[in-house]
Amino acid sequence: MSAMTDTATQAKAAAKPLMARINWVKAAPWLYTLALFALWELLVMALDMPPTILPAPSNVFAAIAKYWSPIWKNSLQTLYTTTMGFAIAVVAGLAIGLFIGWSKTIYAGLYPLMIGFNAIPKVALVPILVIWFGIGTVPAVLTAFLISFFPIVVNVATGLATIEPETEDVLRALGAKKMDIMLKVGIPRSMPYFFGSLKVAITLAFVGSVVSETVASNYGLGNMMSSAQSQFNVPLVFAGLLMLAVEGIAMYALMAWIERRMTGWAHRSTMAQ
């Protein structure tokens, strides 16, 4: 369907200067999102879905307007737990990544442990966290942290482990210590890997915090959605999902922006223009 619209717009662009002036690549995300909502609305209408099964987007937006106050409060709570957990993950992930990348022995010893730990579904850890810290904010922050620090660790360690041997030889011949090589080459070199991993980690952090809020909290979008579900308020559940998607996209965009700002040298093709 999109291919058809594309050819149609191209034909029009040649004829009308107004159509030619629109940057279609920039507009595409918005147009596609609108198309998705339109399609969804039409589907609900065509199949005559009851709102308790699949509410139409108009219904969902109405719910957002109606419950704006609790949605706003719970969205902020989820954003707070997520960014807290994510911030801890960034600090800890960077530290552990540098530690693991430092020596081959530490790398060999810790890597299997990390993989084993990462294979554990984090939802299974929430009850343990509740026993330790009670329900509420703390387990949500910790779950967000636990689920999002692994990709950061792996990326930083990979950046360090792949220093070119020639570079190392040149510096070592000058009398460089391991610390010098890490500071001058290893760490700057692993920064593109690190900032790249933030994009993955932030979306995972949302998964962690919402899972924990759903299972064990009185606040947050996860809790709001599970109580809405128990009252068969399905439009509110979808409103919560929509807010999560919006927060996820916003944070991802922020991470992508930071990545570009911090490691412009790794995106040569765009800078060379």
Binding site: R172, A173, L174, G175, K184, R189, A266
Partner: protein, 262 residues
């Protein structure tokens, strides 16, 4: 004349007692200010020689003496340049060239206070190799030949007494290579630095060097030492003299023989 580098009967084996013997009974001497070239069949331990002289490897038997001291750890009076320029992409060319100064003990504490003086020196070097005004560019904005020029500047910035070059021009096209031969020739003449050049290119060796060492196949040792008779300063035209071609031909024959023996 004093020897800057003297290697005596050195054995170097990788990977324990049953590992590969890379060089065996290696003996060679390079005088101060001399330009030495090392040629040989591939896998003859030329890179091992580089690492022995710079102190990155310590031999199991035999003695390596550089600048009057036995080598037991990396020697910081050496500058190195490899075929791969290994410029750090997040630093400008100038910052790349200044990198050794942040490492070498006798410069790193002076660097911050005397930054101007060092930057001036780096810019002088850039001018010598024909890269004036390119200091603020990032390495990936430079061509391969320009990167290799910057690489030479980096190897020379801390005023090393010995410059070790491991096939620095191997990846360049013929014209750029000849240009850089002239750059190296002029640097050697102007700075009085001792150079050891490891290469596969026999014409390069004969054009640049005072002495050419021919190595045997693995385990490597010096088969023969040639003095290059051509007067300095040498012009590129020297390569079209018959004496030059005869020498290249003779070297070619020796290396071909060394390959067959292995």
């Amino acid at each position: 004349m004093s020897h800057l580098v003297s290697i005596d009967n050195v054995d170097m084996r990788y990977g324990g007692a049953s590992g590969t013997l890379a060089v065996s009974g290696l003996t060679m001497r390079v005088d101060k200010g001399e330009f030495a070239a090392v040629v040989g069949p591939s896998g003859c331990g030329k890179s091992t020689l580089m690492k022995l002289v710079t102190g990155l490897h310590i031999p199991q038997t035999g003695v390596v003496i550089v600048g009057g001291q036995q080598v037991t750890k990396p020697v910081s009076i050496v500058g190195m340049a490899f075929q791969n320029p290994t410029m750090l992409p997040w630093r400008t060319t100038l910052e790349n060239i200044l990198l050794p100064l942040e490492i070498v003990e006798r410069h790193r504490h002076r660097l911050r206070a005397h930054k101007r003086e060092y930057v001036e020196k780096a810019e002088q070097l850039l001018e010598i190799v024909g890269l004036r005004g390119f200091g603020s560019k990032f390495p990936w904005q430079l061509s391969g030949g320009m990167q290799q020029r910057a690489n030479l500047c980096r190897a020379l910035i801390h005023e090393p007494e010995l410059l070790m070059l491991d096939e620095p021009f191997g990846a360049l096209d013929a014209f750029t290579r000849e240009e850089l031969w002239c750059v190296i020739r002029d640097l050697h003449a102007a700075q009085g630095v001792t150079i050891i050049l490891v290469t596969h290119d026999l014409r390069e060796a004969v054009f640049l060097a005072d002495t050419i060492f021919v190595m045997s196949a693995r385990p490597g040792r010096i088969l023969k030492e040639h003095r290059v008779p051509f007067e300095r300063p040498r012009d590129l035209d020297v390569m079209y003299q018959s004496a030059f071609n005869d020498m290249v031909h003779a070297l070619h024959g020796e290396i071909a023989k060394a390959r067959v023996v292995a």
